[in-house]
Symmetry: C2
């Protein structure tokens, strides 16, 4: 079988796994995307088993959506973009997994997001969702900034905005900080009436629980709440600085992706906001493009 | 049997459970403390099963240390001071536990720490260890401040100092913040050479892992490192404000306890630092005094 024949009948699966969700899309070269599935978080930093389970679950759902059998996973060539695998130990652990696919090509969720946003071309992306991070790929240069995760970094992310807001509201309720609309809205959000009620809902919770508070912080900031505005400005300032660092390697395109990309846009510095271009395809399509690029390269090398 | 006869032969166990350790001391009215045991973390906010296991484990160790059988737990009257049980749901869940003791009296770790620090008398305490919080008890008034836990509050605590330092060092390594001695010492602490190495050691870790970095932050601050000094001053400023809030109900004595009480002392405002008196007994002795007070009250009421 020649490379071309093989490619035309070959099914691919693109998987995008992060702090809150794992999305899978099955791609047929003749028909495009034929099935999709979404499962829970898949960040190896927070648990390998959960990551593998989420990949398998989203794959099963995508196969069922494409009217394929669960056993057809072994026909798929997988492109997998995961948070956390910029840590070499985690990359190796996931890469050595006895995965259910014909082949699996692993890279970071940032890399697949960037490939997707620019439809396979070079460029830069900043992801602001549950977490925040930046990535640029130009020729043989690639640049990764931030993405250190909840409680360590991820400034400007949903979890960071939510955590800063919760921190302030608790200081306010203890009499250490100013009372603003943020306090009332956060108490109402949890349907509680004191600091203890907030602590009960947030203590020991994952970044995705904090990220759910981000909309409240942005709403308050957009309505002029001083505390919320200060938090959002700090976060957006960091994102603007991050973009300028990515621009240093001269990416031809720049996109902001993730759930907070749109609401944060008007808080970014104008020189950064004016460079933002639409993401052309979502990260799971980037993962498919990555799998196709890698598989074609393997075939050229005769692997 | 009269109350006095009962009290003279009755063994007590005092248990102090928090974010990193659970300490148990067995007390005999004739001989004083006859056995002690230390087990892992016992904070119901972060897991009920782990809390119960740590209480049982520290009790077993204390019984063995006292040359008693494990089955003698059922002879003990227990005073248990735990982090997190200021949340009513958690108080109820621990209080309804099928515990191994003859009786169990439950309260917050702050309450037993305060009873211990002032040998059963009224007073105020601030605990700065893995977490931070304040408590004062004067007559029928009691005041609880802070203690909301890692990533929500606990300013000035070991985990907070460590987290702020890690956050800064990662910003520094990504080129967003100034380079100081703190960066070099944190990299050396983890024996790594980049941001990724630090993330690998800290991501998803508990507050006690962050708290281990506090000594480095304090060391840098004591040596004039600007970033570390700023972090420690922010934390100590919060602790000073917290103390003044506790003073509002006029406690006759005030103690600072926990692993960071001593190193933070010279960073506190002078009006606060000058009021600090030695803690007279540790929290697990406070838990014994609490059990004795409660048991005596029950007997007076004929319970």
């Amino acid at each position: 079988m020649s490379v071309n024949q093989q490619n035309e009948s070959q099914l691919y699966i693109g998987i995008d796994g992060g702090g809150s969700k794992c999305r899978a899309s099955i791609f047929c070269p003749q028909k495009g995307v034929i099935g999709t599935g979404v499962a829970g978080r898949a960040n190896p930093l927070h648990g390998l088993e959960q990551t593998f389970n989420s990949i398998i679950e989203s794959t099963k759902l995508a196969l069922a959506d494409a009217n394929l059998a669960a056993s057809d996973a072994q026909q798929l060539i997988a492109g997998v973009g995961l948070a956390g695998v910029n840590v070499p130990r985690l990359f190796d652990q996931v890469n050595n997994w006895q995965h259910p696919f014909a082949k699996m090509y692993l890279t970071t969720d940032l890399h697949t997001a960037c490939i997707g946003a620019h439809n396979g071309d070079d460029g830069a992306v900043i992801i602001t969702g549950t977490g925040s991070c930046g990535f640029a790929h130009v020729g043989d240069q690639s640049l990764l900034i931030g993405g250190h995760g909840f409680a360590l970094g991820d400034k400007g992310s949903g979890a960071w905005l939510g955590q800063k807001a919760a921190e302030h509201v608790l200081l306010n309720l203890d009499g250490f900080a100013a009372d603003t609309a943020l306090t009332k809205l956060l108490l109402a959000h949890f349907n509680v009436d004191d600091a203890m009620g907030i602590v009960e809902h947030l203590a020991g919770q994952s970044s995705s629980t904090y990220a759910k508070l981000a909309r409240i912080v942005l709403l308050c900031a957009d309505n002029g709440d001083e505390v919320a505005t200060d938090i959002v400005q700090q976060g957006a300032g960091y994102i603007s600085d991050m973009a300028r660092k990515l621009f240093a390697i001269h990416p031809s395109r720049f996109s902001m992706i993730g759930g907070l990309a749109e609401p944060l846009l008007h808080w970014l510095d104008i020189d950064v906001a004016s460079k933002v271009a639409d993401a052309l395809s979502p990260p799971e399509i980037g993962a498919i493009l990555f799998a196709q690029q890698q598989f074609a390269a393997d075939n050229r090398k005769g692997v």
